[in-house]
Amino acid sequence: MMETNFDRSAPGFDTVLIANRGEIAARIQRACHELGLRTVGICSEADKAASYGDAVDTFLCVGPANASKSYLNQDALLLAARLTGAGAVHPGYGFLSENSKFAAAVEKAGLVFIGPSAQSISTMGDKIAAKRAMIAAGVPCVPGPDTALPEDADEITRIADEIGFPVIIKAAGGGGGRGMRVIHDRADVREAAALTREEARQAFGNAELYIEKFLRHPRHVEIQILCDTHGDAVWLGHRDCSMQRRHQKVVEEAPAPGISLDVIGPVGLACVNACKQIGYRGVGTFEFLFEEGNFYFIEMNTRLQVEHPVTEMTSGIDIVQSQIKVALGQKLAIDQDAVLCEGHSFECRINAEDPHTFLPSAGVVADIVWPHRDGVRVDTHIYEGYKVSPYYDSLIAKVIVHAPTRAEAIAKMRVALAETRLEGISTNLPLLRALFEEAAFVEGETDIHFLEQWLKSWSTP
C-alpha cells in the first residue's frame, strides 16, 4: 500500500480519473502516484495497449477509437468515474480540458474537476469577455474595442481607421487560427467582415466578431500562473513559443530570450492580479504577442499546457502535482518571492509525421533510443512495438533539456536530438535537428512567422 503524503484532513479525494491519453496521461499518472493517490486510466479501443495501462491502478476502455465516442464522451467518462470510485477528474490538455460544460458536469456529479471552475473556463473561452476581464485587471491588450463589432460596415471601417491598418477581425468563439482574417486596406473591410461573420456563424454558432491591431512581427510569449482556492496566486516565469507551424507549437523555451524582468515583471503581476479578481484556481497560461517591447494579451488557456515541462525545469516546481494539491484544497506552498527561475530550458515536440509534408505517420515503432544524461528529460508514452494510431494527435514524445545558459541548453538539445533514434515510423526529428543548427534560431528572439518562412527553404541534407 502506497503511503500518502497529502493532508487527509482537507476536503478531497484519493482516486483520480485521468480523462486523457498519450504522454500527458502517463505524466499525470506519475504525479498522482508520487502524491500517494490512486489512479484510474481510461482509453479507447485503439489505446488498449497503452504503456500507462499497467501503471494506473484501474484501466478501463470506455469506447471505440473515435474520440467522440471515447475521450470526448462526457457521459461515459463520468460513469467510468462512478464505476471505479474516482473522486476527481484530471482532464489533461486537449479533449475536454477547456469544456466548461464538462467541468460543470463533473462537479454536479459530486466529483472534483482538477482545473478551474466552469465559470472561469467559460469567461476565458469567450474572447471578448476575456479581454474585458484583462483590461479591468490591467493586463496589456492589443489595441481595439473590447466590444463586439457592430453590423454596420461603415462603422467597422471607422473603428479600423482608428486602430490603424493592418487590423485583424476575429470570431468571438474562434481559436487556433480559425475564424480570423487580416485586413491591410480599408477598401477590403466590408467584404472581410461579412465573410468572417458568416464563417463564425457556421463554424462556431456565434456570429460575434471583434477587431484589433494586427502585429507584423510578434513573438509568442506566455506566462504560467498557479492559483489556490485561498486567494493566493503566483506566476512561474515565462516561455517563448514562437516556433510554430500553422499555429501548432514545435519548440518551446523558458525563459523567453532577451526580455528583462523589468519589462515582464509588471505583466506577470498583472496576470496574478487578474486571476485573483476572477477567482481563478489551478494552473493557467496567459498568452501574449510581444513586439517592440510591448505585450498584447491574446488569450488565456485554462488548463495544463503541453509545454509545461520547460517551466518545471527552470522553476523547479512540479506543475502537475501543484494543480492536484490545489484541487485537494491545499494552500500554495510558495509565495512569489520564493519563485526563482534559473537556467534555460527547451522542449522539442517529437511528432510521428513526415518532416517535409507533415502528413501523420502511423505504424509500429521498431526501435527506440532516448538520450540519457543530466538535464535531459523525455516525456513519452511510447515503447518498442508501440503502434502509432492514426486516430489521434501525432505527438509521441517531448524531449526537454535544462542548462545554466541558453547557449548551453542549445548544445545539450543538439546532442539529445542526435542521440534520439526512432525506427519504423517517420518523425520530425530531422527538422528539429536542422532547426537547432539554424543561425537565426540560435541567436534567438525570432518571431512567430520565422518557422514557416524557414521551412520554405529547408531540405534534409
Binding site: C43, P64, K69, T84
Partner: protein, 138 residues
C-alpha cells in the same frame, strides 16, 4: 431501494444520461398508473453498443466472441435464470448484462450456438469491447 419518481425531471435527465452513455436506444417503464418511454436519438455520441462480435477459427472449431457493449460490471446470465453453462443460445438472445449504476445494458449473442462459460466473473469491472463469452458455432 427508494421508489423511482417518473415525473421528476432530474431523475429523467439522469436516466437519459445513463442510457446515452451506455448506448441504449430507449427505455420503457410501466407501473399501475403510469407509463414512461424514453427514446435516445441514435445519431448521438456513443457507440457503446457497437462492440462487434468476432468470429474466429474454422470448421467444427469455429467460435464467435461476445464482447462487452460498454464499460461496467458484468452480470452473468445464470444469475437471472439459474441455468448452467454451456447452454444453447439463439441469435439475438440476451446472454448477460453490464451494469452501470441503475442501468443494465444487455449483452446479446449475435449468432446461435453453444454458449460456453463466461470469460469474466460476476460483478467484474469490464471495459468496452472486452471478451465476455465464446459461442461454438453450429
Amino acid at each position: 431501494m427508494s421508489k423511482l419518481d417518473l415525473t421528476d425531471t432530474a431523475t429523467l435527465a439522469v436516466l437519459t444520461d445513463m442510457l446515452t452513455a451506455a448506448g441504449v436506444e430507449g427505455l420503457e417503464i410501466k407501473t399501475a398508473d403510469k407509463q414512461l418511454r424514453l427514446v435516445i436519438p441514435t445519431s448521438g455520441k456513443t457507440g457503446a453498443s457497437s462492440a462487434v462480435d468476432a468470429k474466429v477459427g474454422t470448421g467444427s472449431a469455429r467460435k464467435a466472441m461476445v464482447k462487452a457493449p460498454t464499460a461496467g460490471q458484468f452480470q452473468t446470465l445464470n444469475t437471472i435464470d439459474g441455468k448452467p453453462f454451456p447452454r444453447q443460445v439463439a441469435s439475438n438472445d440476451v446472454v448477460g448484462s453490464v451494469r452501470i449504476g441503475l442501468v443494465l445494458v444487455p449483452v446479446i449473442a449475435k449468432c446461435a450456438g453453444l454458449l460456453l462459460n463466461p470469460l469474466v466473473k460476476q460483478d467484474d469491472l469490464v471495459s468496452y469491447g472486452d471478451p465476455l463469452f465464446e459461442i461454438e458455432l453450429q
